[in-house]
Assembly symmetry: C2
Homo-oligomer: 121 residues x 2
Amino acid sequence: MVKVRKSKVEPPPNECPLASCMKFIRGTWTPHIIWYLKATPRRFSELKGDIKGISAKVLSTRLKELEEAGVVYREVMDTSPPTVEYSLTELGRELQPAIAAIVNVGMKLKKQKYACHTQAA
Amino acid sequence: MVKVRKSKVEPPPNECPLASCMKFIRGTWTPHIIWYLKATPRRFSELKGDIKGISAKVLSTRLKELEEAGVVYREVMDTSPPTVEYSLTELGRELQPAIAAIVNVGMKLKKQKYACHTQAA
DNA sequence: GAATCGGGTTACCATTTCGTAACCTGGTGA
DNA sequence: TCACCAGGTTACGAAATGGTAACCCGATTC
């Protein structure tokens, strides 16, 4: 009979911060969007070009969700044809460190030749 | 006519580190598993208890995938009934900073009363 | 001999996420 | 007049992810 040992890792405290943060950056594409809005506002077609492989449908859906969640701000510019600029809100900027950490780990894995061919083909 | 401006944000360099890292921590549950293996090896039923709300099916599936991806190590102990211990491999430990950053952001959001009620109900 | 336990597996189904491709709208420039 | 542009939307279908619940195995304990 083996006793169930108590975890030495505190649960990511009350109401799970992990889940709180993950719900903003879930899915394949959301982290990319937040990453590319890091420095300056970007237009729809600029983001579509920045993020290799994303479809207009997914980009449009995610941007709408992120706007509703208060992560990105959408501004229609008075140009012709009208252009739209997306930028990070304060909340969006709070998320940057998490994305940056993920990117850092990804770069480290690459250097070590983990990732992409050694792992998870 | 608006010119398409060049991005000032470098693309997360060659072959996307963001994607490289994200493929290890995708889904709702994977980050939780890695988090709870942080300190010591854990058994199946212990992890199931640690991670509130995860089903045996998903836990079993994710653990199998993580083992195959080289993130966790699975050891069958010679006890009766036999117990199984899961622990992080070196690769698994490389992922910790990313998870930790996500948890940190989650905690900060909670303190600021973002998240969970203000945002994304 | 029956119930219990750890560590799962299986079937079935719902939801989320993604991809492709076609289409729309209002203004502009040729 | 007509094609083009930005910034989308829509329809359709596939794959990934998740949930519930029932079941399985071998060893042990009652």
